[in-house]
Subunit: 396 residues, 2 copies
Amino acid sequence: MMKYGFSERVKYMKSSAVRDILKIINQGNIISFAGGLPEESLFPVEAVDKAFHKAVTTNNKALQYGETEGVAELRALLAERMKQKGLNRSAENILVTSGSQQAIDLFSRVMFNKGDIILTENPTYLAAIQVFDSYETNVVAVDSDDDGMILADLEEKIVSLKPKCIYVVPTYSNPTGKVWSLERRQKLLELANKYHVVIFEDDPYGELQFDEKEAPPSIASLDDNDLVLYTSTFSKTVVPAMRIGWIVGPHQIIRIMAQAKQATDLHTNSISQHALVHLLNDFDIDQHIQTIRETYYERMLVMKKLLDSVEIDGLKYIVPKGGMFFWVKLPEAINTTDLLNEAVKEGVAFVPGAPFYVSDPEQNTLRLNFTNSEPTLIEEGMKRFVKVLEATNINV
Amino acid sequence: MMKYGFSERVKYMKSSAVRDILKIINQGNIISFAGGLPEESLFPVEAVDKAFHKAVTTNNKALQYGETEGVAELRALLAERMKQKGLNRSAENILVTSGSQQAIDLFSRVMFNKGDIILTENPTYLAAIQVFDSYETNVVAVDSDDDGMILADLEEKIVSLKPKCIYVVPTYSNPTGKVWSLERRQKLLELANKYHVVIFEDDPYGELQFDEKEAPPSIASLDDNDLVLYTSTFSKTVVPAMRIGWIVGPHQIIRIMAQAKQATDLHTNSISQHALVHLLNDFDIDQHIQTIRETYYERMLVMKKLLDSVEIDGLKYIVPKGGMFFWVKLPEAINTTDLLNEAVKEGVAFVPGAPFYVSDPEQNTLRLNFTNSEPTLIEEGMKRFVKVLEATNINV
């Protein structure tokens, strides 16, 4: 019964399938590879504590209402950090957001009309699809392989569908853990230039690479024509609870997004912003990120070893070069939603792959997170997983 | 030049006239009564510092991703505080938001379609109009007097326009400083029930009353039929930089708003939420609010004394019983936008009243904030203001 007259857009809003699964899983005594959480024991608590102490006690002005665009010192530091990564933009081109999720939402708000076409990979980041759906857009999948989108399919869809935007998570993607090759990045940009389509590059995991040499440049850093918006976050490198992300892009778009943000929440929590300023100044965040990388790499290898032990023809996965996830394909006869039910009975959980698809979901896929469990737990959980998997495979 | 194809709704987005004025004013050495800022020297820095220290160091789980609805302990404490104020709802009916501005935005997102009618007072809270405009709604003004909306006009407009919502700031309103009488609150609710219209009660200033006896009950606390949504904030009673507000309402609406929030920013900064839990448990916030009230009352009286010294027939103002603002009407010949130019030359600033109107702006109105300047500065600033005002009055 709809007692209240909700807006049309409510029909297009979906709760996150993953969040719904997590609620169930978190109730039991289950080893969970389902979430996308960073490792809590690595949180730099002492440094964060000092940074907040400084933010709260240094100047009462820091506790007052602040500017919608973000704390000036933080924007300057972000511009500096971006420059070190080859993305040369001024602080004027940066908007601080309440997590990078808000960057996706504000961008959508100022760009999309009902029915606009957005091209994405398939599968792609679930909560981006949720946002796009809520603006009543049409999200269309482009074929891709291990190196990124297939360029012929991309160009054909640009020409025939005239998309407003191409949304990509090109580096250690969620859910596939994939990395786009340099060539695909360049070619994507060439096509975007040729047809004047905006690219939205979502990069929450870019700093979590396992091998320094392998880190590809961001697509934004290759862009000379103001066609790429780039967003990232401190959720994976400091702590998620701060909810601080940022977006870098053409000033014209950033300015309008700031205007939208003003109506949305006035400005992002500025105690956290000032704390980040102190953290970036007083703490060796790059050394800290190196520790995160090493820890996650070790955990990835433990999970890989157990995955390699599975005796099932047709099981495929991509070896992650960074990020937080394994993406696993099973024989087509295995439905991973059914498999999850069995797995939970055995005390282990993952996320079925289907919800991450824009269209044509593959029911035989799943995502495993390796960052939020200690190696011994990964080993134990994966043994349970392999047991369930092999038992299921015999039965199908 | 529109290089990028923005969404239609961008046309309906306006930057805040007040924020634009503030940017200019903050550049000079001006005594400003223009903003709506709390007094910085009253910020409970020591208590906030302790609260953040506890929030960051007690449990790493508090630094992890959190629930969209808000930190459970905070929602329970809010339900308890609301109950003490006669608003008896469970934690399930509460959504923690990134400031009460976000509550207005999320509510609008799930309720309004293009062209929907919203009834408001005239003038009313500027940033609410901004949000409503961005959803392409039609905001229609209801006539009002010092006690609230005029009921005959309200009923006529409900019947003829079939509004989706009535938006009110009934207690120490921004910009008018007005308080609705108990009778008008009850009658508003009766009409809302009769015609089944949702009321959105925006109450950021309700705790800033100058006389304990005069505090009227919130409209939400009189509601037995799940028709009122009530939002408030800690921006005026703790610090604005935390950006923590909350909204209490029918579970059906709160649940859908939480779903919208999930796509918007996942969840509100949970370090600040946990800090607030500690603050509410360890610190006497009610005693602190009492200090704020006394300080603001004293400042209000200083400003009133100077306003009373003005020798201009036709100058009218409402004596604030709480909140942060004087709303002043001048003789019709005086345009307060022109007056502001003269005032700034003399080193004092206010906000012209026109931007706060939904329709038929009265150019001879202005808003004065008395909370963000010390008494001696109020005295000096008001002397400058009176000088400019009297000089202008002779010339018109």
